[in-house]
């Protein structure tokens, strides 16, 4: 049986030829994403802004207007109602009440009682109440954890490779995280704690590809000391292309199954990682690698450490 080859043997694609065009496109996409976040804003869930969220499943399709009127009749402030996952499940979001935490607790009970009374066969799936204090902490922790992960990984890469590679990793991660946030601004999908977890996962996996390519670049830099940097990057990208494709596709296959058949509650988490894998694969080819050219990586970038190793070996 002949084996499937996603990428033919001995490809020789000139990736670097398009690097300036790709750079412009990436910059536009990143700026557009950040602008989108600035203009449209993120649909932050109760995790980050506080308030209450009641998730309920109804016996049949519900007239959203009627549901909105029924919730508003409770006088709990501006309620927002969103379909969630399937047409019988809705999220009812209530703002933080003025009367402190105990008032918030009563609001959820009121919604629960109202649903039981007016919507036969409805079922409350979950109730989340987050106070302003906790939501502020969660937001700070979330932002901090993403920044720390990005920095931590970049520093690790710097130690294992050279400083240019660390900078490349950081820029790549910035691009990937911006694009993910842009996606959430565009779709207005709810941003909750799961999305932070998704972004951290993307940070890990996007760099996974990058590291494999960097590893090959380092190997080739040591092997072909006379080769110019651009052809060397092309060679490294081509050599690792098959692996990049197979691994990315394998992850996408698994996540695709989860998107279609998996639990609705983690749709946001899954779709974010799914898209992040795409973006990460692109950026590992068109951002992490060309940046090495701009930062002036030369065949002798690894010579110093090499020399040291040689000298050490001779002494021993």
């Amino acid at each position: 049986m002949p084996l499937l080859k996603l990428v033919p043997d001995n490809t020789n694609l000139d990736f670097m030829r398009w690097r300036n065009l790709a750079l412009i496109l990436s910059i536009i996409a990143t700026v557009a994403s950040l602008a989108l976040v600035g203009v449209k804003g993120l649909n932050l869930g109760v995790d980050f802004v506080g308030g209450q969220m009641v998730r309920a499943t109804f016996a049949q399709r519900v007239d959203v207007e009627r549901l909105r009127n029924d919730v508003e009749a409770l006088n709990l402030g501006d309620a927002s109602i969103q379909e969630s996952g399937n047409p019988r499940t809705y999220q009812i979001r209530l703002p933080k009440p003025a009367g402190g935490e105990s008032a918030a607790n009563r609001a959820a009970s009121q919604v629960r009682a109202m649903l039981g009374q007016k919507y036969a066969g409805s079922r409350v799936d979950s109730v989340e109440t987050v106070s302003g204090k906790v939501s502020e902490e969660l937001a700070t922790d979330g932002a901090l954890s993403i920044a720390l992960a990005m920095l931590g990984i970049a520093i690790y890469i710097w130690f294992r490779f050279e400083w240019q590679f660390g900078v490349g990793a950081l820029v790549t991660l910035f691009h990937d995280v911006s694009m993910t946030l842009g996606f959430f601004a565009l779709t207005q999908l709810q941003v909750d704690l799961n999305v932070v977890a998704a972004i951290l996962t993307i940070v890990g996996y996007s760099l996974n590809d990058t590291v494999v390519i960097y590893d090959r670049i380092r190997e080739n830099l040591r092997k072909f000391r006379k080769m110019a940097i651009v052809p060397l990057l092309n060679l490294s990208l081509n050599e690792t292309l098959s692996r990049t494709m197979v691994t990315s596709l394998s992850i996408l296959l698994a996540l695709g199954v989860l998107l279609v058949f998996g639990p609705e509650v983690i749709f946001g988490l899954t779709i974010a990682i799914f898209l992040g894998i795409f973006v990460g694969t692109y950026s590992s080819i068109y951002i992490s690698s060309p940046i090495l050219v701009w930062l002036g990586v030369k065949p002798d970038s690894f010579l110093k450490s090499e020399d040291r190793e040689d000298a050490g070996a001779q002494k021993a």
Partner: protein, 531 residues
């Protein structure tokens, strides 16, 4: 490459067998699990609250209230020491404002003695620094000011939170039979997880009550008009009555809830109303008896959390140490109060600052869908691997299955919780776990293309792929570790699955599949690798 010593084969097999043995209980359906031999490991992966259904509350200590209570207790202690113990020192103008306790010593000659005795009321916070929990200072030559030190407050809060945790546990689960989690989080928080609770209102009512019970004499000398305006004579205080209005009571308690041995919900024998019957310990009963004897025909107030529940008349001395608390209770609220009193008062008021409740059906659906997605994803990846790498894909597949079982086994060993995002982590790991094999296989392909012989290609492939595998996985470990550190509950569940998955996938790819390949090559001696 072919040099795969027997001990290595055995140890790899052993690790995998142990992993599978621990994974089995979590994967068996309930009816088969009952028949699973008892000598084999039975620990299963527990389900997080978002899958099992239940309620999670995050409680935070009201530190302002804690500080107020500490001041009040200190005031009681100070007056007791100076006014009742010999030699007596007359003091006056006691105030507890601004987080400080200050009072005047009437006779200037006694100031030094008073300071000396106040010092005996303070405790060292820790043995090394010699710092004490209160600062004692003299201002204006006759006024003594006692200030809580930061270290003292920290220690008091720490002690209070430990007690509070136990009280919360007793209140939610008086019999100690439920599988609840009550743990301290940080300096001033308690995390409560109760599986199976759909409506946490009753839970919150139980925890929300400090249940500080006090019996105090009503101050009959107070001017009723002044009292309604909130002014009380010296030595008394004004407290709100639950039925409206205010009551002036003596500051000094006759007896408090600390001296209770039991509290039960019962019914009043005269009017059938729901009440709480309480029983004092010996010392409390004696004190209660003596005070009621001395104050027959005067009213006393039953005070719960600084609110007067009722202020009945003392018709006769109450000597048996038994009393009844009435106050417009329903059976449910009386029961709640009884449980709260019996479990002891909370040393500090707790506020619910976060609450998450998940119904049981949502979790059940999520698990079903999660299982379907996991199996579907596994098959998709297996198919992809086999069409891409043939025999080597099959080995990668075997590695994948072993990897999935190892993840489950390790989770069971550590009793880790599977959460909803954890399911996503599991599926993601299935997709990503083959990466190490992909790296190796691609490298072998490459080396073979370069003209290396089978053994040489295999050897180089495994060797050269190692650094990439290691570096690439470290980035995931960094991200997942940070997620674990900052995350809570469900997110932690996700991070745990990712972390375990990274370790097991590297183990299976580098050791297990390598072993399979080595054993095959040794037996079949292929001239060419179809890869």
């Amino acid at each position: 490459m072919l040099d795969f010593p027997r001990w290595k084969v055995w140890s790899i097999t052993l690790v995998i067998l142990i992993g599978i043995l621990f994974a089995i209980p979590s994967t068996l359906p309930a009816n088969l699990k009952a028949r699973y031999p008892a000598f084999l490991p039975s620990a299963t992966i527990s389900l997080g609250l978002d899958l099992a259904g239940g309620s999670q509350l995050l409680l935070e200590a009201d530190t302002a209230d804690a500080s107020k209570q500490r001041l009040a207790a200190k005031e009681e202690e100070v007056t007791q020491e100076l006014r009742r113990n010999e030699p007596r020192i007359e003091i006056g103008d006691i105030s507890t404002s601004g987080g400080r306790l200050s009072f005047m010593v009437r006779n200037p000659a006694q100031v030094d003695a008073a300071v000396e005795r106040m010092r005996t009321l303070t405790q060292p916070v820790d043995g090394l620094s010699g710092q004490r929990d209160w600062d004692v200072q003299v201002v204006d030559s006759s006024r003594i000011v006692m200030t809580q030190t930061d270290a003292g407050m920290t220690k008091a809060l720490r002690d209070a939170m430990t007690v509070a945790r136990d009280v919360v546990r007793r209140r939610i689960d008086p019999q100690g039979t439920k599988e609840i989690t009550v743990i301290n989080q940080g300096q001033r928080r308690i995390l409560v997880q109760v599986p199976g609770v759909e409506d946490p209102e009753a839970l919150k009512a139980l925890i929300g009550q400090t249940a500080r019970l006090e019996f105090k004499l009503v101050d009959l000398t107070a001017d009723p008009i002044q009292v309604q305006q909130g002014h009380a004579p010296p030595g008394s205080q004004v407290l709100p009555h639950v039925d409206g209005g205010f009551v002036a009571v003596k500051r000094r308690s006759m007896v408090t809830g600390d001296q209770l041995v039991d509290a039960k919900q019962t019914f009043d024998q005269q009017n059938g109303a729901a009440v709480v019957s309480i029983r004092f310990n010996a010392a409390g009963a004696r004190r209660f008896g003596r005070v009621t004897q001395e104050n027959v025909n005067k009213p006393f107030a039953i005070i719960l959390d600084d609110k007067v529940l009722s202020a009945p008349n003392i018709n006769e001395p109450i000597l048996g140490g038994q009393a009844q608390i009435s106050g417009n209770f329903t059976v449910a609220t009386a029961n709640q109060l009884a449980v709260s009193l019996a479990s002891g008062k909370l040393p500090v008021k707790l506020n619910v600052i976060e609450e998450r409740t998940v119904g049981p059906d949502l979790g059940k659906e999520s698990i079903e869908k999660g299982v379907i997605a996991s199996i579907g994803a596994t098959f998709a990846v297996i198919l992809f691997m086999i069409v891409t790498y043939g025999r080597f894909g099959l080995y990668a597949t075997l590695g994948l299955i072993v990897n999935a079982l190892l993840i489950l086994g390790i989770m069971a060993i550590f009793n880790a919780s599977l959460t909803l995002p954890g399911i996503a982590g599991f599926v993601l790991t299935i997709g990503a776990a083959v990466d190490a094999n992909v790296l190796i296989n691609e490298r072998i392909r490459e080396e073979q293309r370069r003209g290396r012989k089978v053994l040489d290609a295999l050897e180089t492939g495994y060797k050269e792929a190692q650094t990439a595998i290691f570096d690439a996985n470290i980035t995931n470990v960094i991200a997942a570790a940070i997620m674990w550190y900052f995350g809570s509950g469900p997110i932690r569940g996700f991070a745990v699955v990712l972390l375990i998955g990274i370790v097991t996938s590297v183990f299976t790819a580098v050791n297990f599949t390598r072993m399979l390949v080595a054993l095959w090559v040794r037996k079949a001696r292929p001239r060419q690798l179809q890869l």
